[in-house]
């Protein structure tokens, strides 16, 4: 299962991108996008921004605050998109691409990984045909924990007086990238 993670400023400028794969159940932590998929991923994420803007204000007539975690908001082909909005309206978008059983699993050694797929805990039924369900509570929980970790590192990045997200400064710190990768390995 491959993931493509982007942080976008309130003016839709990408500030940070990172792609990785799942480290669970025989995943090797590397992304396995086909080149055409990999090129398409940023477009899919940007098209999901419209939905983010609609959903981020929360169900109307609530108490006046909305959660930061917007859960699963969009689906394109077989890619699922989840979102987290920070207090300053910076968006974290995560594109999840469950491995196609048909493809047989490009990287898992031994071929039997392809049948099971890599599920972040939300396993349904045995054998081939385990379907990835983005709104399973376990999956949502895993993605939420990932986002919470990245958010903490993000707040530390923003507190830098020389860093201005509004300007579209790209985050270049290798330490930040290492933190995101560590959170990904831990929860996804």
């Amino acid at each position: 299962m491959s993931y493509y993670f982007t942080i976008l400023s309130p003016t839709d400028t990408p500030l940070f991108t990172h792609d990785f794969g799942t480290s669970r159940s025989s995943g090797d932590g590397l992304a396995h996008f086909t080149p055409s998929d990999r090129a398409l991923a940023p477009f899919i994420l940007h098209s999901a921004l419209d939905i983010v803007e609609e959903v981020q204000w929360g169900p109307s007539s609530t108490a006046g605050s909305a959660p930061m975690y917007l859960k699963h908001i969009d689906k394109y082909a077989n890619c699922y998109i989840s979102c987290w909005v920070t207090g300053a309206n910076v968006r974290f978008l995560l594109l999840t691409r469950p491995r196609d059983e048909v493809l047989g699993g490009g990287g898992a050694g031994g071929g039997l990984g392809g049948q099971r797929g890599s599920l972040a805990g939300g396993r349904l039924g045995g054998g081939g045909g385990g379907v990835y369900r983005p709104d399973a509570p376990a999956t949502e929980e895993a993605v939420k924990n990932f986002f919470v970790d990245v958010y903490e590192s993000w707040v530390k990045t923003v507190m830098n007086p020389f860093y201005n997200a509004g300007n579209g400064d790209v985050v270049r710190s290798p330490v930040f990238r290492a933190r995101v990768a560590a959170a990904a390995k831990k929860y996804l």
Binding site: S60, P67, G87, Y151, K156, V158, M159
Partner: protein, 218 residues
């Protein structure tokens, strides 16, 4: 300067290999700053602004600009430190946002909440936040030719930063002194009960009000 950067690329690490990412966000949660230290810095900030400013309005604008990025950063930081961190919520309505400013932000900056919050009668887009005695003005005395200057423009900049980045774009947040007005019957003895009383006028943009109305209708 003898450390090798562990990851190459010219990045240097301090000798205990700890980066800013290793510091806990809540570490300075209860930290306090001495008023004298702040006043010392603030006076220099005003001097810097005054050097390049042409008139009082420009000076207030420069102070406002100095406070703006602080507001941007405080918004995320205070939301992270909010009472129930797992809930992770952000304000989506104007009233919630203003209460966040009057209570949480003010308590963080000055140790006490703001004194009053009102909606202006003439202009529905305008909200008034009252502060009886802004701490930033403690050691400031104004010469006669600049008597309409209010250095709480710095705090107004902080508020503007918070509002803008929370998604509630403002036309501007300005600070006005209302200390010397007659209270009109409420306090017959002396007008100047709070001589330094300041009101922050927060004017939201039209789109914000439209959205507010749509959300309110549900």
């Amino acid at each position: 300067m003898s450390n090798n950067a562990p990851q190459g690329g010219g990045l240097r690490y301090p000798s205990n290999k700890k980066t800013i990412y290793d510091r806990n966000l809540n570490r300075s949660k209860n930290a306090e700053l001495s008023r004298a230290a702040f006043a010392y810095l603030f006076i220099e900030m005003i001097n810097l602004a005054q050097k390049h400013a042409k008139d009082v309005g420009d000076l207030e604008k420069r102070l406002n600009n100095q406070g703006y990025p602080i507001g941007q950063r405080l918004l995320d930081l205070l939301l992270t430190r909010s009472a129930n961190p797992l809930a992770s919520i952000r304000p989506t309505r104007i009233l919630t946002l203003l209460q966040f400013i009057a209570q949480t932000l003010y308590r963080h900056l000055f140790g006490r909440p703001a004194d009053a919050l009102e909606r202006s009668n003439e202009d529905p887009a305008q909200y008034l936040l009252f502060d009886n005695e802004p701490i930033v003005n403690t050691y400031i005395s104004l010469p006669r030719e600049m008597s309409n200057l209010n250095c709480a423009a710095f705090v107004a900049g902080i508020i503007e930063g918070v509002c803008d980045h929370a998604g509630f774009a403002t036309e501007g947040v300005t600070a006005h002194s209302v200390g010397n007005q007659d209270e009109g019957g409420k306090d017959a003895k002396g007008q100047a009960m709070w001589p330094g009383k300041t009101v922050f006028l927060i004017k939201f943009k039209k789109e914000v009000l439209e959205r507010e109305e749509i959300l309110g209708r549900g």
